[in-house]
């Protein structure tokens, strides 16, 4: 069987984000990039399923040369083969999805894992887009999964609970925290990842369907009122919430 993890390379959450001179993208200088945190769950899910069922694992990313770093991390965690759809241009989710779907069609995977969301643009779009383009089922924000003969049973997060979803494969699964505990790359894995090949391919070109026309810092909130330094401040806090903010 074939298990694919689609992964992304994103700014570290601690990174200071500055708006670039063009006004519609961030200034990348000095920004540290990492494997998208949710995609570690996707990689781990692919690895665990291969350990159970046998087969081959792949990681695919679309991006520039810098994305190789993220593919090396996938190799270090134990992924067998990695593919870079090399493209430096600005694409929206629709365009990335088209290119990924095109590549995935050729790979014919049984399971395609995504992270729930990229922590840069926070779109939560790719899993559903790609699944629809491939014409296969998808289950998003999955926190639990079991695979029987032909059946796949997932639990996905919803407001105030979980939905139990029964499906089959091939299938697209987007991983939410809780699905598994991503492994740390072993020293051996890290060493081996350095010499493994990264397959580079040219993704199909598809025009974007949405564009970023502006970028602003959020309005800075002025620091609020310190009402007091102990329990004696409680009545005043309650009064403010009731009379000034009118939220209770």
């Amino acid at each position: 069987m074939k298990f694919v993890a689609c992964i992304n390379h994103v700014p570290d959450t601690e990174a200071k984000i500055k708006i670039g001179s063009g006004g519609n993208a961030i200034d990348r200088t000095g920004v540290n990039y990492i494997l998208n945190p949710y995609d570690e769950f996707a990689i781990e899910a692919a690895l665990q399923l291969k350990e159970k069922k046998g087969g081959e694992t792949f990681a695919v990313t679309l991006g520039g040369d810098s994305h190789k770093e993220t593919l090396r991390k996938a190799l270090a965690m134990g992924i067998d083969k990695v593919i870079l759809l090399k493209d430096d241009s600005v694409r929206d989710s629709f365009s990335v999805a088209k290119a990924l779907a095109d590549e995935l069609k050729k790979l014919t995977p049984d399971f395609i894992f995504f992270g729930k969301q990229s922590i840069d643009y926070n779109g939560e779009q790719l899993p559903g887009l790609v699944a629809e383009m491939l014409g296969i089922p998808s289950v998003s924000t999955v926190v639990k999964m079991s695979v029987e003969e032909t059946k796949v049973i997932c639990e996905r997060e919803i407001e105030g609970g979980h939905e139990v979803v029964e499906t089959s494969y091939p299938v697209v699964i987007s991983a939410q925290k809780g699905l598994n505990e991503p492994r740390y790359p072993s020293l051996k894995g890290i060493m081996a990842s350095k010499s493994k090949p990264i397959e580079e391919r040219q993704p199909i070109a598809v025009p974007s369907a949405a564009e970023v026309v502006g970028m602003q810092k959020p309005p800075s909130k002025q620091s609020g009122k310190i009402v007091g330094t102990d329990a004696t401040a409680v009545p005043e806090l309650v009064r403010l919430l009731h009379e000034e903010a009118k939220v209770i």
């Binding site: 926070n122 949405a210 806090l237």
Partner: protein, 324 residues
């Protein structure tokens, strides 16, 4: 050009987001001088449809059958895309809820539509919608313009207002889709709902606890306050990772994004990843014994003090004020 709003219901009850999406869509439709169609999918939904009138809906398309009792990605996507095409609706609004976020991308692929996800504001410039949405953990706000003929927007719950007005009459039309077994090849077989408090993404008040609560046994202080306020219990990642609280209460970048009217942070330092999930709250109260904790930079009201001294009298005082 028409505007289609997806009104989410579960178990025959509208989500608050259904009203937010309807009313926001109505406002945009009026500005663009176009018609609004509201779509409701489910089973046993006829009785609730008139509720949408108070939020500006005049025409509703209802799709009703037993197999649609539970949400089903592929069937709901097929129906929505069909209705949008039939109505020639080219602007589609969804809630950025667990249902809307799952559904909208599949429809985007069907209709070759660009999408702006999790929008927090919408404006119109030269007849075009410009959507604002937070990115990079809320460190910047993007203005997004969709260039494809069909355009999809998902709206962050609790951000857009839903104020009931003296509603007019709603006319309902039924639509009967041709659904096959393949449309249910991913099928919800059960819904496990946690009883009791509301979910953090839906609550208008959240009381959250962090490592400053010192241990899981002290979260009863958080729960009592939440219950007096009719709110939800939230948590920082530190306490979820420690196993003190379940993951579905986690607020932040790797947890949930929330926009309540009131967010009370107790013993939470205010790390950037936590703030990413709650900075769009309308009012923020922080209780922390470290006056330099970053949470105070975004709090509207703060008490620099010990949660164990402050929470019990706060709960009592609120009980009095609320007459409980």
């Amino acid at each position: 050009m028409k505007l289609l709003a997806f009104a989410e219901q579960r178990e025959g009850k509208f989500k608050k987001s259904a009203f937010e999406v309807t009313q926001t869509a109505k406002g945009i439709a009026d500005k663009l001088g176009t018609e609004l169609v509201v779509l409701v999918i489910g089973n046993n939904i006829e009785g609730i449809i008139p509720e949408l009138g108070a939020y500006g809906a005049t025409r509703v398309v209802a799709v009703q059958e037993e197999r649609l009792q539970y949400y089903s990605t592929m069937a709901y996507a097929k129906i929505t895309a069909e209705v949008a095409s039939k109505e020639q609706a080219t602007i589609l609004f969804f809630p950025a809820s667990q249902m809307g976020k799952d559904l909208a991308p599949r429809i985007a692929a069907k209709l070759s539509a660009g999408m702006a996800a999790d929008c927090t504001a919408l404006k119109i410039e030269s007849g075009e919608i410009i959507a604002s949405r937070p990115a990079y953990a809320g460190k910047v706000i993007l203005d997004v313009k969709i260039t494809s003929p069909v355009k999809i927007y998902t709206l962050r719950p609790n951000v857009f207002t839903a104020v009931a007005i003296n509603g007019g009459k709603v006319s309902t039309e039924k639509y009967t889709p041709q659904l096959t077994d393949a449309d249910f090849s991913a099928r919800v077989t059960a819904v496990k709902v946690a009883e009791g408090r509301p979910d953090v993404t839906e609550a208008s008040i959240i009381v959250s606890g962090g490592r400053g609560m010192k241990g899981p046994e002290h979260f009863n202080l958080i729960e009592k306050l939440a219950d007096v306020l009719g709110g939800a219990v939230g948590a920082s990642r530190a306490v979820v990772d420690a196993g003190w609280r379940p993951h579905d209460e986690q607020v932040g970048q790797t947890g949930k994004t929330v926009s309540p009217t009131l967010y009370v942070a107790c013993g939470i330092s205010g790390a950037i990843q936590h703030i990413a999930g709650m900075s769009s709250s309308k009012y923020i109260v922080a209780i922390n014994k470290d006056k330099d904790a970053p949470i105070f930079q975004i709090a509207d009201y703060g008490i620099v003090g010990d949660v164990f001294d402050v929470l019990p009298p706060l709960t009592e005082e609120l009980k009095k004020t609320l007459g409980k």
